[in-house]
Symmetry: C2
Subunit: 449 residues, 2 copies
């Protein structure tokens, strides 16, 4: 036997697992704060569900891990949380609509491995099904801002609407080439304007390419961008009106007059991160396309301009047809959702934490009974507490506590026991004090660490 992980998978030792758990707990608590409920689905799905025409598509299917049971059934590991969500909606007609659910769980993709790409990774998805109104889109954007704010990060959310993209393509008489145009525009994010222009020109001819790029790269406030868009067909009118409605809800009743002054093209600038009082973190970006996926209306992508993490840390949009297509039948299932990129958020948060959440470590000079009794008092006071179980000498114990980053060490020698006191050492400042147990507890609870 070789001691190895399966290719593309890895362990998270406590310092990573603690940091990740803190992120996931914050995300889940915020989802519930907005009235979303947890849903659990199995890791293993029937392969015919995963490979359904309206599920993830061919690319993703190639990367699906195949599983067989003893009955030689064709099974697979889920590659996302959306297909299981659609299956659950179809199998549970008793669910009351709108159904607001979240799922924070692992997914598997048997794709190429890189430093930033694993075959087993977390997704944190939050979706509403059964609500066609823009209130749902707006609520999810507010929720996303709240998630990042609670994590101490400063997000910018680029929003657009698929109907605007399709309306503009229609306006240019490019309906038959709209997918290629959208793919080209989607690259404005990464390529130079000239390069995108060249790619577009190859599809539409040079003149049209200039005209399209001009229409798509209007700069200014959200209001200025919306005002500059043509309204010459129904798709454009709908898309603009939907975006206006979403933005108005997000701004809030008191803030409708304070229009964002953020320039779309500068959303990735570092200085934004320093502005904790960002008037409006939600900015229209008419070049945002989010690939050729199943979106039908609002689309959005979350970035952290002040962070080392340059790629998006979340995204999503409205997909009013996908669940109906997946399930077949006549019932409509308008839906909108966001997926948060847990691993990138982890990187943006600075990675690993301490090796333990323990706040106190008890050194009892080979009197474990006294150690257990003190630990019991600390634990009853909600303090995560570790103690010497091995029976080591005090300096080895101190080294251990130090290596784990535990902020307080409590010494329980004969003298302290006789006085019913403890000697408390603050491992950050190095100061020591002999105090009563209640005082020690108060000091640990009162510390910032």
């Amino acid at each position: 036997m070789q001691l190895l992980n399966a290719p593309g998978t890895r362990d998270c030792l406590p310092d990573e697992a603690i940091a990740r758990k803190r992120i996931l707990d914050t995300i889940k608590a915020t989802f519930e704060r907005y009235g979303y409920s947890p849903l659990e689905t199995p890791a293993i799905e029937r392969f015919d569900v995963l490979s359904s025409k309206y599920a993830g598509g061919d690319e993703i299917l190639k990367e699906t891990f195949r599983v067989h049971d003893q009955g030689q059934r064709e099974l697979g590991l889920r590659y996302d949380l959306t297909v299981p969500f659609a299956r659950v909606v179809g199998m549970n007609p008793q669910l009351k609509m709108p159904f607001k659910r979240y799922q924070v769980d692992k997914v598997w993709r048997d794709g190429p491995i890189s430093k930033a790409r694993y075959r087993e990774f977390w997704q944190a998805d939050v979706d509403i099904v059964g609500c066609a109104a823009m209130t749902a889109d707006a609520e999810l954007l507010m929720l996303a801002v709240d998630v990042f704010t609670k994590l101490g990060l400063v997000p910018v959310i680029r929003v657009n609407n698929r109907k605007i993209l399709e309306g503009l393509a229609q306006l240019e008489g490019l309906e038959d080439k709209k997918d290629a145009v959208i793919i080209a525009l989607d690259k404005l994010d990464k390529l130079k304007r000239e390069d995108v222009l060249e790619e577009l020109a190859g599809i539409t001819g040079k003149d049209k390419a200039e005209s399209i790029l001009g229409r798509f790269t209007v700069q200014g406030t959200n209001e200025q961008i919306l005002d500059a868009l043509p309204q010459d067909n129904e798709l454009l009118q709908q898309g603009i009106s939907e975006l206006r409605e979403v933005l108005a809800y997000c701004a809030g009743a008191d803030n409708n007059d304070k229009q964002s002054i953020i320039n779309t093209q500068s959303t990735k600038d570092k200085h934004l991160a320093n502005n904790k009082h960002l008037a409006n973190p939600i900015v229209i970006d008419t070049t945002l396309a989010r690939g050729l996926s199943y979106y039908t209306g609002t689309i959005f992508e979350i970035i952290l301009p002040g962070s080392e993490v340059k790629s998006s840390v979340g995204g999503g949009g409205r997909y009013d047809k996908m669940i109906q297509d997946f399930l077949g039948g006549n019932q409509q299932f308008p839906a909108v959702g966001i997926s948060f990129g847990v691993d990138r958020i982890y990187d943006a948060m600075g990675g690993a934490d301490k090796k333990t959440t323990a706040k106190a470590y008890i050194i009892h000079f080979k009197n474990p009974q006294a150690g257990f009794d003190l630990a019991k008092q600390l634990r009853a006071a909600m303090i995560n507490t570790d103690l010497d179980l091995v029976g080591r000498g005090p300096s080895k114990c101190l080294q251990y506590a130090q290596s784990q980053g535990i902020p307080f060490v409590l010494f329980l020698g004969e003298e302290e026991l006789a006085q019913k006191k403890v000697r408390i050492k603050d491992m950050t400042s190095g100061t020591e004090d002999t105090v009563g147990v209640a005082d020690a507890i108060a000091r640990i609870i009162g510390s910032q660490d």
Copy 2:
């Protein structure tokens, strides 16, 4: 495509997922309270790790889900959390000992399916590696009592020591038949005494069977049971001394004189559940064997005598050789751990919860902006809040809130808006009141629900 789960797997809709999350959160928080840190390992492992001689054994290997990646590597889904733990210990020599870790995660076994047996299920494992002292065993028992107490359940923990079982077998001259004897004794739990006697007689002859059963089924307090055991060989002496030490730590310095008065044979009686001040929930049961697994010292099994759930809700013990055998080499890895049966605990807790954790639902009479503004205030006050996103009439909204079991509904009509107030309806009592937002918030936070 058929809309079906893979055989032996199931979804947890919100009412189940909320109840399960509450249990898992309590378990994890208690693990951390005792200084254990989270470890995450991948669901997918190399098959040669899972099938190593000292891993789960042949039975479990037959039930291992096989997975293949595009490189046709032999992989599998983990069937427990102990083998991955041993692998992590072997791959990370930098880990400081003792290493106290927990892992709460899913495992997969492709076995027969029944109502209570799924192919994908939760395990909650907590282990210490690198500590041979009985302090570790004692800490885990205290932790287990604390977990169940925090969940509002009243546990009884049956403890024994493998050395006592082996010492008694040695004493009877049955070392070569000790596995068969242990398997027979293990059935005292489920079979009648006469039936176990018959099975034993088939192995050892009738006289010896009587003698063994007599030695193993001593009744009385923990102290009486220990006193009645023979001390004729080293194994017996060690086992008894280890048990005494563990029990003394668990009783606490103040409680060493208060010996438990629980009769081993009555540990499953209902009346125990009514005794919330159980002097000592830890009772010696010399018939406890825990199968033929890798245990070397202390063994224990947790039951809930007052619950409908009759099988054990957790168990574990000391396994001082398994990790060394698994890894090979000369380094010793004494270890002790507990695995909690999450699904049985879920059943014992009474199953499903409400369909949402939302405490408030806002009905805004088609004024979503006002609804969002009120929701923002409630959410800032840490109240999980849902609101009408669809734009329905008030009676449909009320039905929805009722169906979800949300305890408070806030009406935000024109009159209330003009007065800067809300009408709050307590869905349990049915009473309604028009109050300021701060009062509504205080009432919701102050409610027991």
